[in-house]
Amino acid sequence: MTTTVDTTRALDRERGLALLRQMTLIRRFEEKCVQLYSAGTIRGFVHLYIGEEAVAAGAMRALTPDDAVVSTYREHGHALARGIPTRAVMAEMFGKVEGCSGGRGGSMHLFDVGSRFYGGNAIVAGGLPLALGLALADDMRGRDAVTACFFGDGAVAEGEFHETLNLAALWRLPVLFLCENNLYAMGTAIERAQSQTDVALRASSYEMPAWSVDGMDVLAVEDATRAAAEAVRAGGGPHFLELRTYRFRAHSLYDPDRYRTKDEIRQWMQRDPLPAFVERMRAAGSLTDADVTAIEDEVAAEITDAVDYAQSGHEEPVTSLTRWVYSDAGAGT
């Protein structure tokens, strides 16, 4: 199945600017992270979302503050689009107390329970059962919330994918599965990982509605997500979207990227969601050069501010190392 969702919805200026700003923020944020990583300021594993911004920007706009989000280790975009302050995300990259996870999580574990962002999870498919549980809780409490669960094409091969989709469908829980299919799991192309490469078709075998969406088209993503989330909210049980996208950079900042051709990457970069969207808005007469400059300036300022904030943040003293192993700091071993 491919999407039948209506994407002709008015491209009003306000909506367009917001989406463009969001995508730009994610892109520039990560470009800054690359610099900071080279400088040794940011450490550990860092997985860039560059090329996939339309997914986070579009999908997140279709959710309400009451909805819950479960994410992966490639989640800078999700976190920013969910509205976690850029400062807090950057401070987390620095490992500072002011970070959104207090410096304990780093790039792969951004959390903000206030906005129901239940974290970056670095075990592939490990977040799916959590999403099931969040949705179960919301359902049992009669809350009108959807749990949006992001994961990659690689996760589809894991047993937890199967168990979770079956349970979500069986119990008709309000989960919206959002599979970011960027065609690779590290160096493994999807056709070398899955006997059924049509991910939406696989999902629909669990008796849940599933569509494929062009993940490079931010409007299509937002519209499809809104439609699916509304269907879930209306009691239609879990839904599934496959978001077809591509990562322009290597898997992580460790990866020499030997498994794809330069040509393939170049072709996909022609479909870069940012310039494509700028073009589209321009064509619709809803965007001026000044708008673009203003967004870039604003975003640059926001990132500079975030870096300053992170830089001047605090390192947690090692005396509190064992804090947060248990809620009651007193609990020992």
């Binding site: 479960v70 304990r104 490990g126 059962p129 099931l132 549980g133 409490r141 937890e160 079956n166 248990y326």
Partner: protein, 326 residues
């Protein structure tokens, strides 16, 4: 009130479900079937299928769902039919349940209770006889408790549910039919302290869970030899109540640890190491251990019995320790 270990757990479950509508029980065959060990028999009729929730054979997903539901404010009790199947859910237990609070910088507490029948002795062979209670106690972020008495079977659940963090309750399957009397107003018990089940002066016998009855029996036998054994029930394997153990050993100067886990790398090793670190100069003899043989459990009766700790082996170890020169 006369009751059994099984009934004590059932009444704790029933009370928890009645008093807090955030509590629900989820697991394989907890509902229609009545629980693999009949622990939850009747609860489905009382509380309905939403709160006594039968799950398919999907250990990782439903344990993870318990974690997620706990994060979202529920108080799930998830039953893993037996500990043997917990291996399929270990990713969710270690990487999520035990870890989320910490890696979120204190934001994501996981007030989840896992109930896990455990242990050998019923000739169900190598894939159904694990004693991994102590092995799970290696994982920071978890609390691991092992009710061995009617009071604890009745009282640990409520305390576990009140805990803001994940608690694993290991119920030794051989204890379910254990009967005895229980106060009518038995209620929550602490999960912090080991209990001295028998006072003695000559040797400390330290155990937990399914091996408590045989350890008490061994102490009685030793009495006839003129050896006055103290019996300590650890009750909680993580965090260990080191103080109670050290205090006892400092009085008796001798210790035998009884543990159904495979010996190498069992919790008995940790207890022994703690005694060395905290009471070395008090010891008059090496700390001894009576554990399970390091073998996947064989089916044949005589082999299984030989693999498990027994009162006889505890008695022999205690005699040797007491006989040792200081």
């Amino acid at each position: 009130m006369n009751t059994t270990y099984r009934e004590a757990i059932r009444s704790a479950l029933s009370e928890a479900l009645e008093s807090d509508d955030r509590v629900f029980l989820m697991g394989e065959d907890v509902g229609r079937y009545g629980g693999c060990f009949a622990v939850s028999l009747g609860l489905l009729e009382q509380f309905g299928p939403d709160r006594i929730r039968d799950a398919p054979l999907s250990e990782s997903a439903f344990v993870g769902a318990g974690v997620g539901a706990a994060m979202a404010g529920m108080r799930p009790i998830v039953e893993i039919m037996t500990v043997n199947f917990s291996l399929l859910a270990l990713d969710q237990i270690m990487n999520n349940a035990a870890t989320l609070l910490h890696m979120s910088g204190g934001q994501c507490a996981v007030p989840l209770v896992l109930r896990i029948p455990t242990g050998g002795g019923r000739q169900v062979a190598a894939q159904h006889s694990h004693s991994l209670d102590g092995w799970f106690a290696h994982i920071p972020g978890l609390r691991v408790v092992t009710p061995a008495t009617l009071e604890d079977a009745r009282g640990m659940l409520a305390t576990a549910l009140a805990d803001p963090d994940p608690v694993l309750i290991f119920e030794h399957a051989s204890l379910y039919p254990m009967s005895g009397s229980l106060d009518d107003d038995a209620g929550p018990v602490d999960l912090d302290r080991a209990a001295v089940r028998r006072h003695g002066t000559d040797v400390s016998l330290i155990t937990y869970g399914g091996t408590l009855p045989m350890t008490v029996e061994a102490a009685t036998t030793l009495q006839d030899d003129g050896i006055d054994a103290e019996v300590i029930d650890l009750r909680t394997l993580r965090p260990l109540d080191e103080a109670t153990v050290l205090e006892s050993v400092s009085r008796t100067h001798r210790a035998v640890i009884v543990d159904e886990g495979w010996r190498s790398g069992s919790i008995s090793a940790e207890v022994s190491a703690r005694i060395i670190e905290g009471a070395f100069y008090e010891l008059d003899a090496p700390v001894a251990r009576v554990c399970s043989a390091e073998v996947p459990m064989p089916y044949a009766h005589q082999l299984e019995q030989a693999a498990l700790p027994s009162a006889d082996r505890v008695v022999a170890a205690a005699r040797e320790v007491v006989g040792a020169h200081g």
